[in-house]
């Protein structure tokens, strides 16, 4: 591409990867992002506007204006030349266009669930089962460190296939959160071919 290199382009070789943290409102997405992130989690209002969509310029005057959506993310430097970003999804289904945007280019996703309010995460599970190719796992957030429901019951209630890893996580605990992200990545390796198709 024309922009690929400039005479003094310095960031050459720095890679970034992205994981998506999904789930219903209040299931601990922001907590998990903050537990892992080396920067305070950024929670800001990003206006998703028509300016980011591929639309016929002739019709742009007719398009709706702006939607205000919260953007929630953190970052973790893994190596001098490798940065991992974690993006939390906006909680409400009406922001699904933003989900598509966030999931594009993601290496994997985790759907967080709260067993007291399983239904809050149904839309997220549906999204990754039906509307996205991004490999995902499901993680039960143990808010009080106590597992209140056996995982096989949670699996049945969510109606997810055996092939989808189901784990528990304490989103406040860094080791636990990182272990969950490792499961996300190994799941993607299991579900994708070693040499990615172009």
């Amino acid at each position: 591409m024309a922009f690929a290199s400039t005479p003094d382009g310095p960031p050459a070789g720095i890679s970034s990867a992205k994981l998506v943290v999904a789930g219903g409102f209040g299931v601990g997405k922001t907590t998990l992002v903050g537990t892992v992130s080396e920067i305070p989690p950024v929670n800001t209002e990003a206006w998703m506007t028509e300016a980011s969509k591929t639309v016929d310029p002739l019709t742009v005057g007719d398009s709706k204006t702006t939607t205000t959506v919260a953007m929630d993310f953190g970052r973790l430097t893994l190596a001098r030349d490798l940065i991992l970003y974690l993006f939390g999804t906006p909680g409400q289904p009406r922001f699904w266009p933003m989900w598509d945007d966030l999931c594009r280019g993601a290496s994997g996703a985790v759907v967080l669930v709260d067993t007291h309010r399983l239904d809050a995460s149904f839309p997220a599970v549906n999204y990754f089962e039906n509307d996205s190719d991004v490999p995902f796992i499901v993680a039960v957030n143990l808010f009080d460190g106590v597992q209140t429901h056996p995982l096989d019951q949670v699996r049945d209630a969510l109606g997810i296939a055996e092939s989808i890893p189901l784990v528990t996580v304490d989103a406040r605990n860094r080791k636990s959160a990182i272990t969950t992200l490792l499961t996300v990545l190994t799941n993607t390796m299991d579900k994708t071919a070693p040499v990615a198709a172009p």
């Binding site: 400039t6 992205k18 506007t49 028509e50 591929t54 953007m71 970003y85 594009r104 994708t192």
Partner: protein, 114 residues
């Protein structure tokens, strides 16, 4: 969110609504050097993005958030800045986010923190 509430976002982008190549929210952007004279000729939004990018490689999402410029407008303005040679958009080293070489590196990196 800052920005001018009296101007529809696409006015800030000169009416353009599409970018030439897709900028992921996690695509890294940097400005290798900062030219104050060039910055002075930019719109306030583009100037903020240019200034911020000159502080080190960061993602499109970070630039948008820190500069108070919406994601869509940020993408268009960054492409302009890249076309003018002001910023460098980090081309993906890996063909796919599922590239096992990339996944292995992320796993190795995360294990250092586990």
């Amino acid at each position: 969110m800052s920005g001018n509430p009296w101007v529809r976002p696409y006015v800030l982008t000169g009416g353009r609504t599409r970018t030439r190549h897709h900028l992921y929210v996690h695509t890294l952007v940097t400005a290798s050097w900062y030219d104050p004279a060039a910055a002075a000729r930019l719109s306030p939004e583009a100037r903020r993005l240019y200034e911020r990018a000159s502080t080190g490689a960061q993602s499109v999402a970070e630039l948008s958030a820190h500069c108070g410029v919406s994601l869509g407008v940020t993408r268009v303005l960054l492409e302009d800045l890249a076309a003018a040679g002001r910023v460098q958009i980090n081309e993906d080293v890996y063909v796919s986010p599922y590239d096992h070489g990339l996944l292995r590196r992320v796993i190795d990196g995360l294990r250092e923190y586990a």
